[in-house]
Amino acid sequence: MCVEAVDEGLNHLDSRESGVTSAEGEGRLCEDGDARSEVMPKRMGKKNGSSGSGKRVHSQRSDNDPVFLDWKKNRCAVSYVVDDESFSVVGESVGEQNLSSDDGDSSSFSVMLGWLNQVAKDPCDEKLGSLPEWSKWKCYGGQEMWKQALIAREALCIKRSDGVDFNWQKNPRMHPSLYGDQSGYSYRLRERLKCKEKPAQKRSATSSESTSSGAQRNEDGSLSASAIWIDENGDDNGTSDSSAVESLFFNRRRQRLLLGSRYQAEVPKWNGLKSESDSKWLGTQIWPLKKSERRSLIERDPIGKGRQDSCGCVIRGSVDCIRFHIAEKRFKLKVELGSAFFFWRFDKMGEEAVLPWTKQDKDKFADIVKLNPTSELKCFWDELRKGFPEKRTEALVSYYYNVFLLKRREHQNRHSPFEITSDDDESESSLPVKWAAGNQDDKSTNSIFYSPAKPKPKTR
């Protein structure tokens, strides 16, 4: 059954993208071909490092010899491949592609593992090839290394869904490297694998009926994932559908609505009588101001007035002109809003928020952000917190959005108006690496970050 499932998985690979590991996401990662190979394998590298052993496996490789790898030694490096049975499944399905050695069925798998390892070490190595756009995957056969890697992963997914260790696929996640090094929380695959008791117990205890509806093919051939599972006991149920193909979908956590007391809201029947709607908590009025506080501005702008392009400044549009008009507007707002100005934290906004920051702090802040670019999958927020232990997170966030980023945008508006990047997950340089494009690898299908490749829109 596993082999059949793998074949089915292969077919489905053709028509859709699949989830979890980093190997397959490349086609959707970047619209820039050059960046493509960079992003994916670095995650592989990170995964190797974070899978528990912390060791990097070094294999000898020459330009001419095929890669041979002892997969047992590499177990920690490719930690989602857990047991021999999985290997044999994959070996059977791709065994005909005996690429490099005279060994038995496991050799092609070893070759593939070795390839993955090399990709992790040196993603830019041209010998490794590159991943085509995902929509073209179906055009490729099992002789491609990346295709084999995908198939292997799918086989493991299917196997997991049929087996006891349901929870592994139950919680597909984004790769943690997408968030940089999270303090206090590290990616622990083995931890996840251990979290079995609950679903196993529930499954054995429930006598639930399950129905599925709407599992039909869409126009593009992919299976519709709208399965509805009814669980009389309200427990999160695994699939009882015997089809391995459908289980591939339905075992992905939350690609279906769940029904039962743990999922639906309790909605009372309507008896025509309006019940008490608490009139105590209706919000505190901040605006309009209380009568005692109201002030009248000498000059008030009409509602909905836009920006005036003419002003009396010597050099219109200069840095000083803009600064002046912003300050002018700020002052007006402060006078008009009264206490609301402080309730809405406007006093902490804008470049005035920089006042508590010394020049030294500002330089340090800029250095930390620069040295931890998100294009290299670093997270400068952690470094900022370490670098400024005396400052609260809100202060750092406020400075970032109200001063640092504004200055960057000011620079971009003047000097590179066609390459605007105003989010911290785009690099400081002018090369935009979109979040959706740059971090779409290793994606579970149940991550909101997952977004199919879309043609790059024309930049402004």
């Binding site: 709407g214 956590r253 909905g304 966030v397 991550s447």
Partner: protein, 430 residues
Amino acid sequence: MRSKDKIAYFYDGDVGSVGFGQNHPMKTHRLCMTHHLVLSYDLHQKMEIYRPHKAYPVELAQFHSADYVEFLHRITPDTLHLYASDLARYNLGEDCPVFDNLFEFCQIYAGGTIDAARRLNNQLCDIAINWAGGAHHAKKCEASGFCYINDLVLGILELLKHHARVLYIDIDVHHGDGVEEAFYFTDRVMTVSFHKFGDLFFPGTGDVKEIGERDGKFYAINVPLKDGIDDNSFTRLFKAIISKIVEMYQPGAIVLQCGADSLAGDRLGCFNLSIDGHAECVRFVKKFNKPLLVTGGGGYTKENVARCWTVETGVLLDTELPNDIPDNEYIKYFGPDYSLRIPHGHIENLNSKNYLTAIKVQVLENLRNIQHAPGVQMQEVPPDFYIPDFDEDTQNPDERISQHTLDKHIQRDDEYYDGDNDNDHNMEDS
């Protein structure tokens, strides 16, 4: 249309400084930017602005399970490592990271929606806005898709205390699965979601065949769409479906989730809507003159989010805003154009006329199954928005087609009625 609507707008100054942190695309700072932009156009002169109370855990537990609320309350980034299995159970940690002040953040945005619902119930306003709300993915017992507490469900439950039926409309690019799931069994809430579906797009649910179960059968409506839908196609479909729903269902109140990730250029979305197209939906819903609760939702290109929700605030206030953004603290974010509108998207529109017609037909077919609200006569006429489904592009423009042939094209098997009676005067919308 009645004279001026009274608008209540909810905002808490602390909501924007919460950091999802890490390299997360959800930037609560977009709420600050929105608020600032709204004020820069002086729209605050036309509405009342409230600071919501922070929702108490017991209020959150009106929908969510007590253990989940409790966990959210207690977990901090420093204690994460002690609760690995709980984090997995509640789906926290990656899409939904644990950050400082997470619970307070939830209390603020949920409190906003609940207070908004209460003000509507007490008829203290006609329209209530909470741009910080709209967390439509959150489930009863777990977080999902950046959503921890489902403020929409809580707001709807509040509205249900005063209204027999509530209509929920969702124009976020993602399926409103949390809200749909919560009310899947009941006919007191009709959930309608327009979203991208297919290609394993998050969350994966939202097929047109999901229509509800038991008492709620036919009271869930899904409009699955493909990449690149543009203003014209979207607004036509939206108006056609929503007008029929309001006519048939006669809700007492409407909740509208205005996720801005359905705009062109969104970092996670894949539609081609302009801000005007998006706002047209808001304008259309407002015209029904029902108590209306408007929330935010997704939107990951923060400047466009701020633009969109400012324009929509203007729409709700019947104020047309000029394109030039006035001077304000954040004006640099809107450069180099400093304009309120955004360019149209360039993603290929994969929604063919055939596809959209098929979806519309199926949705309207399902709608026929619901019982009309008492007092509303059954109208057996098709809507006048029906589009004859022949592809004009394949027609040879040089070839004269006889009227008979044209008639044949129009008369499809799935057309509602025979003959030419296609006009429904009641569907005329203003």
